[in-house]
């Protein structure tokens, strides 16, 4: 996507794995840090606000983040995010199965690590 990343910034896929599911017009994506040490970086990177702000035309409703700290996991529930859902969407991927890679493609927020 776009031009090659400047300074080879790392993305979420470098530290975490994810899976997408759908119910009606709501998409949920669960995301898991491979290593416990990266969980804080994952939480800082993937906030509900950032996800909603990054894809304003796609995610029209509320974004809620649930945390499972003992498993280093996050679960994002994105309402009104499937272009009407499988009933109405004309997207080839009307279930949003590919949405895990929307989040895995975001750059990590490593600024705090740079400062320290």
């Amino acid at each position: 996507m776009n031009a090659p990343r400047r300074n080879e910034r790392r993305i979420v896929r470098d530290i975490a794995h994810a899976r997408a599911g759908d119910k009606g017009n709501t998409s949920n994506v669960n995301v898991w840090a491979y290593e416990p040490k990266d969980y804080e970086l994952l939480k800082r990177t993937l906030t509900a606000e950032r996800i909603k702000r990054t894809f304003p035309h796609l995610i029209r409703g509320q974004v809620t983040r649930y945390e499972l700290p003992h498993l280093n996991g996050l679960n994002f529930v994105m309402q009104d995010a499937l272009e009407g859902g499988v009933n109405a969407s004309l997207n080839l991927d009307s279930h949003g199965k590919s949405f895990s890679y929307l989040l895995l493609g975001l750059e990590l927020d490593e600024q705090d690590a740079d400062r320290s």
């Binding site: 996507m1 794995h17 994810a18 899976r19 599911g21 898991w32 003992h70 996991g73 679960n75 080839l92």
Partner: protein, 444 residues
């Protein structure tokens, strides 16, 4: 210690067959579940049944039963399935006749009905999760099915059925029911209901917990995915379980595959609603327990919902899809030009503007609305999709895309077009007391 071994033989309507036969033959299973019904699948089943009163069940039922009935009988494995879809009675009768053809004398086939609640839901019933009522939809209803829970399946198990066929049996309930039956769990023991529901939730999508929907070369490699095995749960009387698969099958069971499935299609992990329980997965423990073995424990739950979810299916008209491809230098620009021509002609010549979508596969399609575009593509495909109540609109769209071969940009080839019937679904709630599941046991 009595361990109950339960497996999955299908995680959706079109799932693979031969790994299911393999699992029954070598898995020493007490029970195997074929989960074959989604919200839209049941609506399509109703359409099939309207066209032919003897149809409306899963189209792979006959092939599955022919392959699996003998294997299940030999292994002593109970089969539980919602392949009955919109017509469980016809599915059970067909299964019975296949059993007789195969000489499986004495095989007990149970049919669970009562999920069709179309006569019980008032026309002004409000939707479950959006504004409005059923009366606001001006297109024909094709069917209404309530999700039945483990309590609807229990009588069939008590009757000693070998094959249990229903329609809208809830996915995890088909796993919970035989566990509760074997271990004598009480339906008000919410910790056990939660634990059994977790097992069902992890297994209901079949290979999604054994390496399917998971592989990402370089970071999440899966061995021999082409020969992926279906999952097995070895369940203990306390509800904890080991998730695994047959040793020499392809795929991968790890804490990672189990975590991804734990929250698949789950919203609040502490409140996962089923007909049996409000399950709490928020404190579940997931631990490696050997090669392709993962132990899960600590699921719990609170009181089951007072209402049952009902899927209402409507006739959704038609969807047309068509495409033409462009490759080589400036493929993207030629594809873009084709997209502009399509948009103009559909609007100006045909006056069709609504419910039309034009994508450029290879550049911007799945993530188009997310605002992402690739820039280097030299092999792209125009993809046009349209939905309409009028089949003629879809036919017009296909015609226009095909006309691009002669009248569009240079080097366009590979036209394909197809029109498929659509359904639309909505959800409503019904008080559970109004739904009366029924059981009939037939003997081959």
């Amino acid at each position: 210690m009595s361990t109950f071994r339960i497996g999955t033989g299908a995680g959706f309507s079109s799932d693979r067959l031969e790994p299911a036969v393999d699992l029954v033959e070598r898995g020493e299973l007490d029970a195997i579940v074929f989960e074959c019904l989604g919200e839209r699948t049941v609506a399509f089943g109703h359409r099939d049944r309207m066209a032919d009163p003897q149809r409306g069940y899963n189209s792979l039922l006959e092939r599955r039963m022919r392959a699996l009935l003998p294997a299940c009988r030999k292994a002593g494995t109970v089969m539980i399935t919602n392949m009955g879809a919109a017509n469980p009675r016809a599915a059970a009768e067909r299964t019975l006749s296949i059993a007789r053809e195969l000489g499986l004398q004495g095989l007990k086939v149970a049919c669970i009905e009562g999920d069709d609640v179309s006569a019980l839901v008032p026309s002004n019933q409000p939707f479950m999760d959006e504004p409005g009522t059923l009366a606001d939809i001006d297109i024909p209803v094709v069917g209404m099915n309530a999700y039945l829970g483990a309590d609807a399946i229990a009588p069939a198990l008590a009757a000693g059925a070998d094959v249990i066929i229903g329609g809208r049996l809830a996915d995890p309930s088909m796993f919970l029911a035989p566990l509760a039956h074997r271990f004598g769990w009480d339906a008000t023991d919410m910790a056990r209901m939660g634990a059994g529901t977790l097992v069902g939730h992890l297994l209901e999508c079949g290979m999604q917990v054994t390496g399917g929907y998971f592989a990402d070369p370089g970071v999440k490699d899966v061995a021999n995915l082409a020969a992926c095995g279906y999952p097995i749960a070895e369940v203990q009387p306390d509800g904890s379980a080991v998730i695994t698969k047959l040793a020499d099958t392809g795929g991968y069971v790890s804490t990672q595959t189990v975590k991804e499935q734990l929250l698949y299609e789950v919203h609040d992990p502490a409140r996962y609603l089923t007909p049996d329980v409000t399950a709490d997965f928020s404190r579940v423990q997931i631990a490696a327990a050997g090669d392709n073995r993962v132990k899960v424990s600590n699921a719990s739950g609170t009181t089951r919902p007072a209402t049952l979810k009902v899927t209402v299916g409507f006739d959704g008209g038609f969807q047309g899809e068509a495409g033409v491809s462009y490759a080589g230098p400036a493929a993207q620009q030629r594809g873009q030009l084709a997209a502009e021509i399509m948009a103009e002609r559909m609007a100006r010549v045909h006056g069709i503007k609504s419910d039309l979508r034009i994508d450029l596969i290879g550049v911007s399609s799945l993530f188009a609305t997310a605002g992402l575009r690739a820039t280097e593509a030299q092999d792209v495909r125009l993809h046009v999709a349209l939905r309409s109540r009028q089949k003629e609109d879809a036919e017009t769209m296909l015609w226009e895309v095909e006309s691009l071969l002669c009248c569009g940009p240079a080097g366009g080839g590979g036209y394909r077009g197809a029109i498929t019937p659509c359904v639309m679904t909505k959800s409503v709630l019904i008080p559970r007391g109004r739904v009366k599941p029924s059981l009939q046991v037939m003997v081959a």
